[in-house]
């Protein structure tokens, strides 16, 4: 959460000669990060990121307190100025009994489980004066709207001291019965916030109700219209409560009312701040709105308890920091931060009592952090681990191989893409699976990212469609697809999917070359029945049987998809071949051209031809013209050179099998 702090406002609480830039640099290194310095209304204004655990720093006073310690530690003179807030004048309840000086407080029935502290006072004769220039300027510097004094005072104090406060219209409260009950709301009660928005309780929110159960405030979050100050307000009930932070969080999130007050109050604001806020409020209402204190001060503080002390072993500092800092230096830093510290030399341990504004200091590591940051992280050495290197690697995962696949495909012309795992309903359906078979997001951000995909192919088609100027483009992606499982996490399958726009045989050749990189060459693709598109199954024969790697799909526009399960490939890939002794003789290679009928399955035919004789070591398609296919046949006997006479009978068998099984005829004369 970012907060804007004007430099000159900060100087009301911090005595220092540090320049804004110096303060920015030093405070950012050891405390909240001062991200930028803006020029606002002619003055520097800090834009500071305060982390969610440090609500104590979400105010001018809080930043001044942090800065004072950090600057002083860095050798720049700085001190936190003492508070200048006067105490609230006590009124003599026995003397004057006029309306303007002695009004009854509402009847307040607190529930200490929900509210740690309530403090309030009635102010009368409130005049709706214009917000003075000095206050208006600061509110503008921190990007808040300027209304009139009656309203702006509460915003100003919240920013200055860090505890939200509220101004009720006292008369409205009294007209509604003069009762404030702190209760947990029942479900289905309606209320309207001061900006006119209507809500209905879901049950469990802490609300203020009057005697008849009407909601008169959504405390710690936003006022309601029926009790808020307006232009006619003459008397103000100036009010501060410390509501249970989890209850604030609950109501604020459920109703999506994220006011500054809610964002502070949900983070355990220090209840001890309430007195100062009350005193500052009275001071400002008196001086700016000419108000009079008209009641005793109501202060009920059932939650007044100290934060639990933290016991820290001296050795813990060394365990985290790797250096020795003396117990005296540790105590000194913690004390500057407001802690009460005792060191027990016999037990070599500290007892650290954090101040009321630091509920975030709960465990040893929290105390270590305070020491380390103030000591300065930049003052710690930097070194690599000298501990044992783990050697237990996860099974079935080969990141080096995945990257090698990517590199090889890229080198032979394929472009790698990354597409979203989340797809639209239309794209999800293109996988061939119904949308109900997909995992769906509960809260998608946009319509095109709703379903977790079943297939990468539709995403890759989208990319090809978006690049029409590259008609021969081939792209691939390695990513997960997601299959829902009942009562369990989905199965995440790692796929390599290639979609190309070249011929089937070229793309298949590229794919086969990829497998060859990992010494896999026994590959077959057989057509399988399919409704939408023509499909084939990719099978690899290994020593331990057949492995189904994935499928090929013939898509529209002459596109071809190869989609394989990468984990299956990882399972069978080899890092090296099995060496074959070099043949003692030369191979004989010759070309045979056959004229074949339409739709002859060439792959199947080659398999049959291969089976003719063991001396046939390779058959490749080298040319095609219409239905004439030229095959390059290699014959090899590793032991001796083959003679013409030995090759001839094999060739005759080849021609016969092509003729008998596939009705193909040899083209041209072959000797």
């Amino acid at each position: 959460m970012n907060i804007l702090i004007p430099h000159n406002w900060l100087l009301e609480h911090l005595e220092t000669a540090a320049s804004p830039e110096e303060l920015q640099r030093l405070v950012s290194l050891s405390g909240p990060s001062i991200e930028r310095i803006y020029e606002r209304e002619g003055e520097p204004v800090y834009d500071i990121e305060v982390t969610t655990n440090r609500v104590d720093s979400m105010s001018v006073r809080g930043i001044a307190r942090e800065s004072a310690v950090i600057l002083a530690q860095a050798g720049v003179a700085a001190t936190l100025k003492p508070s200048t807030i006067p105490t609230v004048p006590k009124i003599d309840t026995s003397a004057q009994k006029t309306d303007s000086t002695n009004l009854p407080l509402p009847q307040i029935k607190n529930n200490p489980t929900f509210c740690k502290r309530i403090i309030c006072v009635v102010l009368s004769d409130v005049q709706h004066t214009a917000t003075p220039d000095w206050m208006a300027k600061r509110l503008k510097q921190i990007e808040q709207n300027v209304h009139d004094s009656v309203i702006d005072i509460t915003n100003y104090i919240t920013h200055e001291l860090g505890h939200p406060c509220h101004a009720f219209d006292y008369d409205k409260i009294m007209q509604l019965g003069g009762v404030i009950n702190v209760v947990e709301a029942e479900k289905g009660k309606r209320f309207t916030t001061l900006d006119g928005e209507s809500y209905e309780t879901i049950g469990g929110e802490v609300v203020f109700e009057n005697e008849v159960g009407e909601i008169i405030d959504l405390p710690a979050i936003k006022g309601t219209a029926n009790t808020a100050v307006d232009n006619n307000t003459k008397r103000v009930l100036f009010w501060i409560e410390s509501l249970d932070h989890e209850k604030v969080r609950f109501a604020s999130m459920k109703h999506a009312i994220r006011t500054v007050a809610a964002q502070l109050n949900e983070k355990q604001v220090d209840p001890y701040l309430a007195e100062a806020v009350l005193a500052r409020g009275v001071e400002l209402y008196q001086s700016l709105c000419h108000a009079t204190v008209a009641s005793t001060i109501f202060d009920e503080f059932p939650g007044a308890e100290q934060i639990a002390p933290v016991r820290v072993k001296y050795s813990t500092f060394n365990r985290y920091l790797g250096i020795e800092i003396s117990p005296e230096d540790i105590s000194s830093i913690l004390e500057k931060l407001g802690c009460v510290v005792t060191y027990d030399p016999d037990a070599t341990a500290f007892t650290v009592q954090p101040p009321s504004f630091r509920p975030d200091i709960e465990i040893e590591a929290d105390v270590v952090e305070e020491i380390a940051r103030i000591y300065g992280y930049h003052n710690l050495p930097s070194t690599l681990m000298d501990t044992a290197i783990p050697t237990n690697k996860p099974e079935g995962t080969r990141f080096d191989f995945e990257h090698a696949c990517k590199q090889f495909l890229a080198h032979i012309g394929w472009q790698e893409v990354y597409t979203y795992s989340l797809v639209s309903e239309a794209v999800a359906l293109q996988s061939g699976e119904p949308s109900t078979a997909h995992l769906k997001l509960q809260n998608p951000l946009t319509d095109d990212r709703v379903y977790l995909r079943h297939s990468l192919i539709p995403s890759l088609i989208e990319v090809l469609d978006a690049n029409p100027q590259r008609p021969s483009l081939g792209i691939f992606e390695i990513a997960h697809v997601y299959h829902p499982q009942p009562n369990n996490l989905p199965t995440e399958e790692l796929h390599l999917t290639m979609v190309g726009q070249k011929s089937y045989s070229e793309i298949r050749g590229d794919f086969e070359s990829l497998l060859r990189q990992f010494y896999i060459s026994e590959l077959s693709i057989t057509e399988v029945p399919s409704e939408l598109h023509q499909q084939g199954e990719i099978t690899v024969t290994t020593g331990s049987g057949e492995v189904h790697l994935g499928t090929i799909t013939i898509l529209e526009k002459g596109r071809v998809a190869f989609d394989i399960l990468l984990t299956e490939l990882v399972r069978i890939l080899k890092t090296h071949p099995t060496y074959q002794p070099l043949p003692k003789a030369e191979a004989v290679t010759e070309d045979l051209t056959f004229s074949l009928p339409q739709r002859t399955p060439i792959g199947t035919m080659i398999e049959k031809m291969h089976a003719v004789h063991k001396l046939i070591t390779s058959i490749e398609v080298v040319d095609q013209y219409k239905q004439n296919f030229t095959f390059s046949i290699t014959y090899l006997d590793p032991e001796k050179s083959l003679s013409k006479d030995e090759v001839e009978p094999i060739r005759k068998q080849l021609i016969a099998i092509v003729n008998q099984t596939f009705s193909g005829t040899l083209v041209g004369a072959q000797s």
Partner: protein, 362 residues
């Protein structure tokens, strides 16, 4: 022409060849069809019939001599008869490109593997418990606001068991079921890695994966990548975290790059840090000459978070925080990569656009 005139012409020709500058195609010039030798030979009919035999011999001899000289010359200067236009543009094979994110991930992997980290992969759709609860973030904790989480639309079947920071494993999804989310960060790998190693350090994990957050602008995409480091052992200190960050900065951005850590807050680390790397343009000074560096925020680039593993996270992974300490860090791959010197990508949505005009540049 007389014999003596022919002899002079022959001598001139031989001398001319000897004096030729390097680079001249002497084979064509002297021995080509329209070459100087053929021009000389054409004088033969103009000689007196009785001289022609002698002249023929002379011309044959000079032919042999010229051949030898040209051959000799070709050997020494390496000039060949095929002239090549060296200014001709090259003809490149059609190559594709490995996606920049893959390139970055491979580099990150290499850097960390060199110092003993093991790369792992964990679910992208995971139980809320691994993504938040086991990381010291109870249900509905305000710290969860930082993560714009996508929830998966499946029934939440979690059995109602009270959250207990001291014993986070009470609500382990294997015991009580759970809510399913898309991983908002790679930190879900922390407790998963502790479980994989049976809660037995040493752990040096690097987890690089797709993550998802409900946000979209020039610096955020709904899907992005993070890399997460986790080191747990006896005696691991902030110094080791600093050492690892400095090492990574030097390896990834080049020598001279420094890192620094500043206080921050995460629920799952304590102390927690924001990690900055020094700007390579101004070398961490924030100034180029007299001017402010335009590339960075006062000399440094914020890259992500880090911290010492919170004792509750170690407990969630079954590791005794009294015995072991550890550190963790997790940053966006896109953010880290786009800070590379001279890269200048100002809109990370391009990475996932599938636009070839972009991808072909890598």
């Amino acid at each position: 022409m007389t014999i003596s005139e022919l002899q002079t012409a022959i001598q001139d020709l031989v001398q001319q060849l000897t004096a030729e500058a390097p680079g001249v195609d002497v084979r064509t010039k002297y021995l080509g069809k329209k070459g100087l030798f053929n021009q000389l030979a054409r004088v033969l009919p103009s000689l007196a019939p009785e001289d022609r035999k002698t002249a023929g011999q002379l011309i044959n001899e000079v032919r042999t001599q010229l051949e030898a000289t040209v051959l000799e010359r070709e050997k020494t200067v390496g000039a060949s008869t095929n002239w090549v236009d060296v200014t001709m543009p090259g003809k490149k094979p059609a190559v594709g490109h490995v996606h920049p994110i893959s390139q970055a991930m491979a580099e990150i992997t290499r850097i960390f593997e060199k110092v003993g980290f093991t790369r792992v992969r964990y679910p992208e759709v995971d139980w809320d418990w691994y993504v938040f609860e086991s990381l010291n973030m109870p249900p509905d904790h305000p710290a969860r606001d930082e993560w714009e989480t996508f929830f998966v639309d499946v029934p939440d079947t979690t059995k109602p068991v009270e959250y207990d920071a001291n014993n986070p494993r009470k609500r382990h999804p294997s015991l009580v079921g759970g809510k399913m989310v898309l991983t908002t960060h790679t930190s879900n790998g922390q407790v998963r890695e502790m479980e994989r190693l049976n809660s037995t350090p040493p752990i040096r994990m690097i987890n690089i994966a797709r993550c998802y957050r409900r946000q979209q602008d020039a610096t955020h995409t709904q899907m992005f990548h993070q890399f997460e480091g986790l080191v747990v052992d006896k005696g691991i200190t902030i110094q080791h975290l600093k050492g690892t960050l400095d090492y990574f900065a030097r390896e990834f951005y080049g020598p001279g790059t420094k890192s620094r850590i500043r206080p921050f807050h995460f629920q799952f680390t304590e102390p927690s840090f924001e990690v900055d790397f020094s700007c390579h343009i101004c070398m961490g000074t924030g100034k180029v000459g007299e001017n402010k560096c335009k590339f960075c925020k006062s000399g440094w680039h914020e890259v992500g978070g880090a911290g010492m593993v919170h004792p509750n996270v170690l407990k969630a992974g079954g590791i005794d925080p009294e015995e072991y300490t550890g550190f963790a860090f997790g940053w966006g791959v896109e953010r880290t990569y786009t800070l590379k010197p001279g890269l200048h990508i100002d809109d990370i949505r391009l990475l996932y656009s599938g636009d070839m005009r972009f991808l072909e540049q890598f």
